[in-house]
Symmetry: C2
Subunit: 195 residues, 2 copies
């Protein structure tokens, strides 16, 4: 999309679906004119509680040229269920990954629908991931630790023809950060400090 095309859409699209569409296009324009603004860094902390139970906090991030603090410090717990030798205080880490995928695509759907002038009625998603625990348990060298496959399904309702609604979901997938993270490799470095 050219800069000029974006500016024309900026004039044409009021806020919709709870998305501040003029602000969305202003952000795209600002980044287009100053690419370093696009550099973001997201962060989390985690502390072991007991057994497989741990507690995370998400508070700050960098982006658009400066440090930011979220509206509040978000906390979240993770645990294993009893069948996986935990106390089921919270979702499994691998369940948070599934949620992250569908939440990311859903946010994209709302933004893209607003940008295209489509009023959404609802967006519902289900997602499932298959895992063979012989990997994690060290019982087979041929079985990976993580998901063998992930399947998500979106149901979208809004004031547009079926094909236009379908294209909004396709575009949200094509621009989803979490979809890209899962479907492609990310270099992950893990450092260790002792004592």
């Amino acid at each position: 999309m050219s800069h000029t095309a974006v500016q024309e859409q900026t004039k044409a699209r009021p806020p919709l679906n709870g998305v501040d569409t003029p602000n969305l296009f202003a952000t795209i324009n600002a980044v287009a004119g100053n690419p370093p603004l696009a550099k973001f860094q997201f962060r989390a902390r985690n502390s072991w509680v007991n057994g497989t139970h741990s507690r995370g906090t998400i508070e700050t991030f960098y982006g658009a040229g400066s440090e930011h603090t979220h509206a509040r410090t978000f906390t979240m717990d993770a645990d294993h269920p009893a069948v996986l030798v935990g106390e089921d205080h919270a979702p499994l880490p691998v369940e948070f990954v599934l949620f992250g995928l569908v939440a990311c695509v859903t946010g994209g759907i709302a933004n893209i629908a607003a940008a295209r002038g489509v009023t959404l009625e609802s967006v519902e998603a289900t997602v499932e991931g298959d895992m063979d625990l012989r990997g994690i348990l060290g019982l087979s060298g041929d079985v990976r630790n993580g998901y063998e496959s992930i399947r998500a399904s979106f149901t979208i309702k809004g004031n547009a023809p079926d094909e236009k609604l379908r294209q909004i979901v396709e575009q949200a997938k094509a621009r989803s950060a979490v979809y890209d993270i899962l479907a492609n490799k990310v270099p992950v470095d893990i450092g260790i400090n002792v004592g």
Copy 2:
């Protein structure tokens, strides 16, 4: 680890770090003797709320040969902060992915430490991921949508020599489902239903 070695460790290791170690080894033994028990499927649902804000639920999963329901239905929200055109009601989906990584490795550290007879004092982790938003915003075909790189750092304290503590973290990384999911590809299918 051979079946016999596992059985010997089962006798040797009492519960530790809040981990029911005998149950952990019993699980490994049960799966070793009946590999279909290792088949798990994890699931999440998500509903769009408004703007970039959505709400997920995690309730059921399949594994060890039967359907399971978590101790309670877990709910979690995701949103974008203001600088990313949201209302900052909750963490970003990409922040949940970072939390999932460190929570997964932390749960593994607790289990592995217990299996090796090491009493943990604390496990703290930080994690950060770098992203260039020109991908998501459609401003550059050369920039990916997701994280360019992720760096986590673990600080572990416990009643063992430094090298043994370090090896526990290394083994937790080597058997982490979320590490594998991020560091390697997962086939992701997204279905679309309209209306």
